[in-house]
């Protein structure tokens, strides 16, 4: 009699624990999937930021005239690709913005970026 009672408590106890753990696992899964969506949104914003930072620097250096050298910090984890012929900056094939002038093709990564307007041409490079 005593053993039967103990057995019942154990089964009920395990069922309760299993239900709690199942609910917890479901909540954790939902949180991580929300986290992944948020991560994608943040990555897109970082790319937009990097793209517009390069675009604004090239525009400003171009407008400031020959002999201007300008440096800024790029903190993006991604690589930005500048296509001179098509005059655009692309970041990881996920975000692109136009450039106001032809700039030699280059890949730039995070760090200090130097934009120079020398001898009538604008050049972008990692400093």
């Amino acid at each position: 009699m005593s053993r039967n009672t103990k057995g019942q408590i154990a089964i009920e106890g395990f069922t309760t624990l299993a239900v709690i753990l199942f609910l917890y696992a479901t909540l954790v899964f939902m949180t991580y999937s929300r986290d992944a969506q948020l991560g994608e949104k943040t990555a897109l914003m970082d790319r937009r930021d990097a793209c517009l930072a390069v675009q604004s620097s090239v525009s400003s250096v171009l407008a400031s005239g020959n002999g201007t050298v300008f440096e800024f910090g790029l903190s993006s984890k991604d690589t930005a690709y500048i296509s001179g012929n098509r005059a655009y900056v692309g970041v990881e094939n996920a975000y692109a913005c136009s450039l106001p002038a032809a700039v030699p093709d280059v890949n730039i990564t995070s760090g200090t970026i130097r934009v120079s307007n020398l001898n009538g041409g604008v050049r972008v490079e990692n400093a």
Partner: protein, 179 residues
Amino acid sequence: MPNRIANNRGQIFSTDLIFAVSVFLLLLAFVWYSWDDLNYEMDRKMELSEMKQRALDISDALAMASGSPDNWALDPEGANSIGLVTLPRQLSDEKWSALAGMDYKDQKGLLGVGRFDFWLAVKSGGAVLNSTGLEPAGDFRVGIERAVIRNGEAQMLSLVLWEDYKSSFMTYDYYRGNK
């Protein structure tokens, strides 16, 4: 019979039951704490994401738009929205002075920073030439920089949105101290 009843009563308060309840409560406490911790981290990430979105929108508007009306600097109190340029990326000293001369609360309203605090600066070669707003406190912040032209020189317009995260979430700090 009386002995049997006494035995049954004894079983209710057995060590097994106390052990089972303790394990259950420990597990419940663990689940509660880790769920709370996960939520705290998610709140932080969402807050940063919103801050970044706002900072991007505001900095682009400041560096690319003239504001509404165009000549809002003549009557800052009548401004509907503000931009700091006359032409895209051509920073206007007149508009900068008009913004810097405003009350911080009015600046926040016109910039649309919402519940966040802000610090706006014009830099050249890393040195701050002019600034307005509140200098950031703590590391819960987002900074956006855009190149602009001022008096023919390329300079940097730097916007930082920040928040004293601990004081906005006092409940969490109560549990976590300096986290």
